[in-house]
C-alpha cells in the first residue's frame, strides 16, 4: 500500500488551522503556523481556493474557509428526508397535472423510486416506492445522468439495454440527449422503457445547487404528449415548477 500523500496531509492541516478560529489568516501566518515554505503554502491555498474549500478576502488577501466546505457535511440527503420534504409539492403536482408523480434518487447505477403519488382518478394502482428504473431509459434517470448525480461512464459500460425500439442504446445518441436535457432543464422519455408510456422529469436540487433527485410525471403517451409525440408544454411547466419549489425548500437558493 502506498504511504500517505504529503500534500493532502498539508492541505488538511491548513483547513484545520483556518477552522480553528474566527479570524482570517494571511499567507505568512499560515506558512509560519505550520512551518511550511511560503511557496508550498501558496500552491495548496490556491488549489483549495479553486475548489471553493477556501476563500480569499479581496481587500486584505487573507484566507478563510470556503462555502463549499461548509456544505460538505450537509450535501448528503437521506431519501426518506427527501420524500418528507417533497410530499406536499408532489401531491400538488399530481392534483394539478392529473398524472402519477414519482420522485427518484440515484442508487447503485439505477433510479430508486423514493416517492409515488397515484394518478388522481381513484383507479387501482400500486405503490412503486422501492422499485428501480434504468438510468438511460427513464426521464428521472436522464435527469440524474445529465446533471451529474450519477456518472455516465459506468452506465454506458454496463451496457445500454434496449427496452423498446425507442430506447437510446447508442452512446452518441444518449450523450446528445443529455446535453439537450442540460440546456432545457428537463428530460422526457417517450416509449423508451415501455411501449405506450411516457414521462417528463426535472431536477431537484439541494444545498449549493447539487442535484439530489428528480421529480416527474408519467403515464400513457397520449396523455403526456401531444399528437406528434412531443411532451405537453403545460405538463413540463408544472413539473419544473414543482421541482423548483422542492429545491427552494431544500435550500438551493438560486433555483
Amino acid at each position: 500500500m502506498a504511504g500517505p500523500v504529503q500534500s493532502i496531509e498539508r492541505a488538511a492541516a491548513i483547513l484545520r488551522l483556518l477552522a480553528s478560529g474566527p479570524r482570517r489568516l494571511g499567507l505568512g501566518e499560515v506558512a509560519a503556523s505550520l512551518a511550511l515554505a511560503k511557496g508550498t503554502t501558496h500552491g495548496i491555498l490556491r488549489t483549495l481556493q479553486n475548489i471553493d474549500f477556501v476563500e480569499q478576502d479581496p481587500a486584505t488577501g487573507k484566507y478563510q474557509l470556503g462555502a463549499a466546505l461548509l456544505h460538505l457535511g450537509t450535501s448528503y440527503l437521506d431519501v426518506n428526508e427527501l420524500r418528507s420534504r417533497s410530499i406536499n409539492w408532489a401531491d400538488a403536482l399530481a392534483a394539478r397535472s392529473g398524472e402519477a408523480v414519482r420522485l427518484g434518487a440515484p442508487l447503485e447505477g439505477k433510479v430508486l423510486i423514493v416517492h409515488h403519488v397515484f394518478r388522481p382518478d381513484d383507479t387501482l394502482q400500486t405503490l412503486d416506492v422501492g422499485a428501480l428504473l434504468p438510468l438511460h431509459a427513464s426521464s428521472l434517470g436522464k435527469v440524474l445522468l445529465a446533471f451529474g448525480s450519477v456518472p455516465l461512464e459506468p452506465a454506458v459500460e454496463a451496457g445500454l439495454e434496449a427496452y423498446t425500439r425507442h430506447t437510446l442504446v447508442d452512446r452518441e445518441h444518449l450523450t446528445r440527449a443529455l446535453t439537450e436535457v442540460r440546456e432545457l432543464g428537463w428530460a422526457a422519455e417517450v416509449q423508451e422503457m415501455i411501449t405506450g408510456e411516457a414521462g417528463i422529469a426535472a431536477p431537484v436540487r439541494g444545498h449549493g445547487g447539487l442535484v439530489v433527485g428528480a421529480i416527474g410525471v408519467s403515464g400513457t403517451v397520449e396523455r403526456i404528449c401531444d399528437a406528434k409525440g412531443v411532451p405537453q408544454p403545460a405538463l413540463v411547466t408544472q413539473v419544473r415548477h414543482a421541482a423548483r419549489a422542492i429545491s427552494r425548500d431544500l435550500g438551493a437558493a438560486r433555483w
Binding site: E81, F118, P120
Partner: protein
C-alpha cells in the same frame, strides 16, 4: 366580485395557519406563524390568547396577498382549532383574564382524581360521555375559580366570558368588545365536560357540579352554519364554520358515512370513527364525541381514540437520544434491520390514553438483549405507533357494529412508508393516504363552503377526495397475532409504575 375561494384558519397548538382553497379543494395559498409556549411550572402549559389573535391578524392578510386575492373573492371562512384549551376574558375590554390553559396542561390532576372517586366516572359518562381527565375544559374553569379570587363572582355577574379558541377568535373577528358574538360549535362544546351529549345543550347538572355560571358560556351552534360576517381583518367575509381540529380532519377526509374512519398522525395521534346519527357510548375506553353538525340537520357522532405519544416518540429518539438527525431518518435506520429483534417500546411518557386511560403508566423498553442495535430500537419506535393504533381499532370494533374496513390517514408521519405498511399489516385493512395532507384546514374549509353554498352537498366534497397512496396488508396472521401478544405483554409492564399520582 366572483367568490373564487374558501378560507380556513387552523389555530393549532404550536401555530396558526391560514389556507385558501379552490373549488377542487386544492391548496391555493398558505401562511403560517408560530406562537409562544409558556411552561410556568412542571405540567403547566399556557398560551397568550392575545398573541394568538395577533397571529391571526398577520397570517390572514399574508395568505391573501401570497395568492394576490382580495377578501371579497372569499366566499366564506371556517375555523379549526386546538381543542379543550380554555380562555377566559373580560367582554368589556376584550382582555383575557390570565393566559389560556392548554389541553396538555395537567394542573387539574388532583381535582380529576377526586372527581373519579366522587362522584365517579359514571356521573359524567352518563351526561357528557367523557371520563374526568385533565384533558377537558370544565376542570380548568373550576381550578381557576378555586385559585383566582373573586373570579367566580365576576363570572356570575356576567363580567367574564369562557371559550375555547374558536369562541375567542370568532368573538374578536365579529367586533370584540363592540358587538362580538359569543358562540361555540357542538364539536368543541362536546369536549368541555359541560355539554349534554344527547341534548347538545349545556347540562344544568354539570354546570351546577362544576359551579359554572351559565352567562359566561357561549351559545352552542352547528359546526357549519352562518355565524355572521367578520368585522375585523376580513370585513364582510361570512364566518360559516367552526370545528375542533380532529373533527375537522374527519370532515376533510370526507368520512361522512357511518363506519368511515381516519387517523391523524402527529405528535400524538387521533383516530375518529363516524358512527352516524347514533350515539354510541363506549364501553372499551374510547370517547364519544360530536363529529359535526351541518345547519339544522341532525348531529353526526364519532368514537374517538386519542393516543398521547406517536410522533413525539420519534422526536424523543431524535432530540433526547440523538440517534437520528431528522425525523424521516428513523425509516432509514429502521430499514437497516429485518425486524424488531424482539424489542418493544411502550411510550407511556405521561401515562396511556385510549383505550387504557392509565395515568400511572410510564414508558418501558422491553426485550433488550445484547443483540439489539439502534436499528431494532428504530423499528420498535415506529411499531409502537402501529400497535397503539391497533389497540384503538380493536376497541372501536368492540364498541361499534361497524368493523373498520379501511383506514384513511393523514399528518406528518404518513410520509413514512415503513410505518404505513406496518399499519396495514397489523390492522389487516388497507391504509390509504389522500392527496391533500392538510386535512384539518381542508375540513374547516369544506364545512364553511358547504354552509355558504360554495359547494352544494357532501357528495361534491367526496368527489374532491383522491387516493394518493395505498398500503395493503402483507403479514402472516400467525406473526401478527404473536407480535400483538408480545406488545400487550409490554403494555402490562408499563402499568402501575407510578405508585400514586404526584402533585404537579
Amino acid at each position: 366580485m366572483v367568490k373564487r375561494y374558501v378560507m380556513s384558519i387552523d389555530q393549532g397548538t404550536t401555530s396558526t395557519r391560514c389556507i385558501l382553497f379552490d373549488h377542487q379543494g386544492r391548496l391555493v395559498s398558505v401562511a403560517q406563524r408560530e406562537h409562544q409556549q409558556y411552561f410556568p411550572r412542571p405540567g403547566w402549559v399556557e398560551h397568550d390568547a392575545v398573541e394568538i389573535w395577533h397571529t391571526l391578524e398577520r397570517v390572514v392578510p399574508q395568505a391573501l396577498s401570497h395568492a394576490d386575492v382580495s377578501a371579497d373573492e372569499v366566499a366564506a371562512v371556517g375555523i379549526a382549532n386546538q381543542r379543550e384549551t380554555t380562555v377566559l376574558w373580560d367582554p368589556r375590554t376584550g382582555t383575557p383574564l390570565g393566559r389560556a390553559i392548554v389541553w396538555q396542561d395537567t394542573r387539574t390532576a388532583p381535582l380529576v382524581e377526586d372527581l373519579r372517586s366522587r362522584p365517579g366516572d359514571e356521573f359524567f359518562l352518563r351526561r357528557c360521555c367523557l371520563p374526568p381527565s385533565t384533558y377537558f375544559s370544565a376542570p380548568r374553569i373550576r381550578w381557576l375559580f378555586d385559585h383566582v379570587e373573586g373570579l367566580r363572582q365576576r363570572a356570575e355577574d356576567g363580567e367574564v366570558l369562557f371559550g375555547t379558541m374558536e369562541s375567542w377568535l370568532i368573538w374578536n373577528l365579529t367586533g370584540g368588545p363592540s358587538g362580538g358574538v359569543h358562540l361555540t360549535d357542538v364539536t368543541n362544546a362536546s369536549r368541555t365536560m359541560l355539554m349534554n351529549i344527547s341534548t347538545l345543550d349545556w347540562d344544568e347538572e354539570l354546570l351546577e357540579f362544576f359551579g359554572v355560571p351559565r352567562p359566561m358560556l357561549p351559545e352552542i351552534r352547528a359546526s357549519a352554519e352562518s355565524y355572521g360576517a367578520a368585522r375585523a381583518v376580513i370585513p364582510g367575509v361570512p364566518i360559516t364554520a367552526a370545528l375542533g381540529d380532529q373533527q375537522a380532519a374527519l370532515f376533510g377526509q370526507t368520512c361522512f358515512a357511518p363506519g368511515e374512519a381516519k387517523c391523524t398522525y402527529g405528535t400524538g395521534s387521533f383516530l375518529l370513527l363516524n358512527t352516524g346519527t347514533d350515539l354510541v357510548r363506549s364501553r372499551h375506553g374510547l370517547l364519544t364525541t360530536v363529529a359535526y353538525k351541518v345547519d339544522d340537520q341532525p348531529a353526526v357522532y364519532a368514537l374517538e381514540g386519542p393516543i398521547a405519544v406517536t410522533g413525539a416518540l420519534v422526536q424523543w429518539f431524535r432530540d433526547r437520544l440523538g440517534l437520528i438527525s431528522t425525523a424521516p431518518e428513523i425509516e432509514t435506520l429502521a430499514r437497516t434491520v429485518e425486524n424488531n429483534g424482539g424489542c418493544y417500546i411502550v411510550p407511556a411518557f405521561s401515562g396511556l390514553y385510549a383505550p387504557h386511560w392509565r395515568s400511572d403508566a410510564r414508558g418501558v423498553i422491553v426485550g433488550l438483549t445484547s443483540y439489539i442495535t439502534k436499528g431494532h430500537l428504530a423499528r420498535a419506535v415506529l411499531e409502537a405507533t402501529g400497535w397503539q393504533t391497533r389497540e384503538v381499532v380493536d376497541a372501536m370494533n368492540a364498541d361499534s357494529s361497524l368493523a373498520l374496513k379501511v383506514l384513511k390517514v393523514d399528518g406528518g408521519m404518513t410520509s413514512d412508508n415503513l410505518l404505513m405498511q406496518f399499519l396495514a399489516d397489523v390492522l389487516d385493512v388497507p391504509v390509504v393516504r389522500p392527496m391533500a395532507v392538510e386535512t384539518v384546514s381542508l375540513g374547516a374549509a369544506y364545512a364553511a363552503g358547504l354552509a355558504a353554498g360554495y359547494w352544494p352537498d357532501l357528495e361534491v366534497l367526496r368527489r374532491n377526495w383522491h387516493r394518493a397512496a395505498q398500503w395493503l396488508p402483507d403479514m402472516a396472521p400467525e406473526r401478527r397475532e404473536a407480535e400483538y401478544e408480545d406488545w400487550k405483554r409490554a403494555v402490562e409492564r408499563s402499568l402501575g409504575w407510578i405508585a400514586s399520582p404526584r402533585p404537579p
